[in-house]
C-alpha cells in the first residue's frame, strides 16, 4: 500500500497543479511499478493517470463549465491518497469507482469516439505491460483487455523494433521450409 500511496499522491499533485506533463511522468512511474509489482489497484492508477493526462491535455475538458467535476475529481484523488496511507483497500476501490463515474460524466457531455478515454487507457496500459515483457495472455488477463485488441494496438507501435533477439531470420525461414515442406 506504500507504493499505492506514493502513486496516488503523484496523480493527486499533478491534477491539483493541472500539469499534464507531470501527470504523464506519474503514469510512467506507475507503469514501471505495475509490471514488476502488479496489483489491481496499481493497474487502476496506471489507467487513470493516463486518462487524466488526456483530460488535462484537452481544452474542452478543462473549461470552466466543468469546474464542478474538476473539484469532484480532486476530492476523490485526495481521498485515494488518504485511503492508501491508511491501507484501506476497500475505501480505495470505492474511490476509484467514483473517479470512473466522474470521468465518464465529463466525457459523456462531449463524446467524440466510440472508444471512451477509460477504454483507451485500459488498452494503452495493457499494451505497455506487453511491451515491457509480460506475455500477451498475461497482459490480457491482468487488465481484462482482449488479446486481439492488444495485438492490434501493439502492431502499430515500435515495440517489436526496440528489442531483437532469438534466432536469425535466415535460420527461422530455413526451419519453416523444412517444417512445412520437407518434414522435421
Amino acid at each position: 500500500m506504500l507504493e499505492l500511496s506514493k502513486a496516488s499522491k503523484l496523480i493527486c499533485d499533478a491534477f491539483k497543479e493541472r500539469d499534464q506533463r507531470k501527470m504523464r511522468r506519474a503514469n510512467d512511474t506507475i507503469m514501471t511499478l505495475s509490471a514488476s509489482r502488479f496489483s489491481k489497484e496499481m493497474y487502476e492508477l496506471a489507467v487513470y493517470s493516463y486518462v487524466l493526462s488526456k483530460v488535462l491535455s484537452k481544452p474542452r475538458f478543462m473549461s470552466k463549465k466543468y469546474s464542478a467535476t474538476h473539484k469532484e475529481i480532486q476530492a476523490i484523488l485526495n481521498s485515494m491518497v488518504r485511503d492508501a496511507k491508511k491501507r484501506d483497500k476497500k475505501a480505495f476501490r470505492v474511490a476509484v469507482k467514483g473517479l470512473r463515474t466522474s470521468i465518464q460524466t465529463l466525457e459523456s457531455r462531449d463524446s467524440r469516439y466510440i472508444k471512451t478515454m477509460i477504454e483507451k487507457g485500459r488498452l494503452k496500459t495493457a499494451a505497455t505491460l506487453y511491451a515491457q515483457g509480460l506475455s500477451l495472455s498475461t497482459a490480457s488477463k491482468l487488465t481484462g483487455v482482449e488479446s486481439q485488441e492488444i495485438m492490434d494496438y501493439a502492431g502499430k507501435t515500435r515495440m517489436f523494433d526496440r528489442v531483437t533477439g532469438g534466432k536469425s531470420l535466415a535460420s527461422r525461414i530455413d526451419y519453416a521450409r523444412k517444417m512445412l515442406l520437407g518434414g522435421v
Binding site: V163, I173, A176
Partner: protein, 227 residues
C-alpha cells in the same frame, strides 16, 4: 508425402485473420498436408470468447478461424493435465526477479502449448507472441529487455531457468511471417501475376501491423530475399 504437424497459439491465428491471410493455412493443409493443431484454450481465446462478446469487432476473425476448424484445416486437441501446466508455469514465472519479487510473465495458455508440444511430440510452434518465444530461444535477451524497461537489475533464478529450458529444449518457433514467406516461395501469391513479390511484401507488412512480433529490419531482409 509426410504429414507435418504445427502447434499454433492464439496470437498467430489472430494476426493471420487480422491480416486476412488465414487462407495460407488452407494452402499448406491442402497442398502440403500440414496439420495445424491448437489446444482447446486457443480455440476458446480465438473463437468462442470473441463470439460471446457484446462488441462485434473481432467476430469475423473468430468465424474465419472457426471455419478452418470446421474444415479440419485446424485440429483442436484436448488440454494437457492441469498439474503439468501449473508446474511449468511456476518454473517460468520464477526465472526473473526484480527487487526480490518474481516476475510473473506467462499464463496458462502459453504454458499449455509448451506442455502439449512435449506430449504430442510436435516440436514446431507457430507463435507471433514475443515473450514466450524469447523464453524458449533467448531468455537472456528477455532479461536485458526487462532491465531496460524496469530500470532495475533483474536476477535470474538459474535453477528455474535450467529446468524451464530443459522442458522446452528442441522446440522451434516460427511466426506467421515465416509461414507467409514460405507460402510465397511455393506460389501462394502467384494469382497477383507480375505483382507477386509486391503482394507478398505487402502481406508481411500487414502481419506486422496486425501484431506479429517482427521488426522493420527483418521485413527489409524479407524484401531483399524476394528480389
Amino acid at each position: 508425402m509426410k504429414e507435418n504437424y504445427v502447434l499454433c497459439d492464439a496470437s498467430s491465428l489472430i494476426s493471420l485473420t487480422g491480416a486476412c491471410l488465414d487462407s495460407v493455412i488452407d494452402f499448406f493443409h491442402d497442398k502440403f498436408r500440414v496439420k495445424f493443431v491448437v489446444p482447446q484454450s486457443v480455440e476458446y481465446e480465438a473463437v468462442a470468447r470473441p463470439l460471446s462478446l457484446k462488441t462485434k469487432i473481432y467476430c469475423f476473425s473468430a468465424l474465419r478461424i472457426q471455419n478452418l476448424i470446421n474444415k479440419r484445416a485446424i485440429e483442436v486437441v484436448p488440454e494437457s493435465k492441469d498439474e503439468k501446466t501449473k508446474e511449468l508455469m511456476k518454473q517460468g514465472n520464477h526465472i526473473y526477479h526484480a527487487a526480490g519479487k518474481s516476475l510473473k510473465l506467462i499464463q496458462k495458455g502459453e504454458t499449455e502449448m509448451l506442455i502439449l508440444s512435449r506430449e504430442l511430440n510436435i516440436p514446431s510452434l507457430l507463435m507471433d507472441e514475443r515473450t514466450t518465444r524469447f523464453l524458449i530461444e533467448s531468455p537472456i535477451t528477455l532479461k536485458k529487455h526487462l532491465e531496460d524497461e524496469f530500470h532495475t537489475h533483474i536476477m535470474v533464478n538459474k535453477k528455474s531457468l535450467m529446468s524451464f529450458s530443459n522442458r522446452v529444449k528442441g522446440m522451434n518457433v516460427i511466426r506467421s511471417t515465416e509461414l507467409v514467406y514460405t507460402a510465397y516461395e511455393e506460389g501462394f501469391f502467384s494469382k497477383f501475376g507480375s505483382k507477386e513479390s509486391e503482394a507478398a511484401e505487402a502481406a508481411l507488412y500487414r502481419l506486422k501491423y496486425a501484431g506479429c512480433a517482427v521488426s522493420f529490419n527483418e521485413l527489409k531482409e524479407y524484401s531483399k530475399m524476394m528480389k
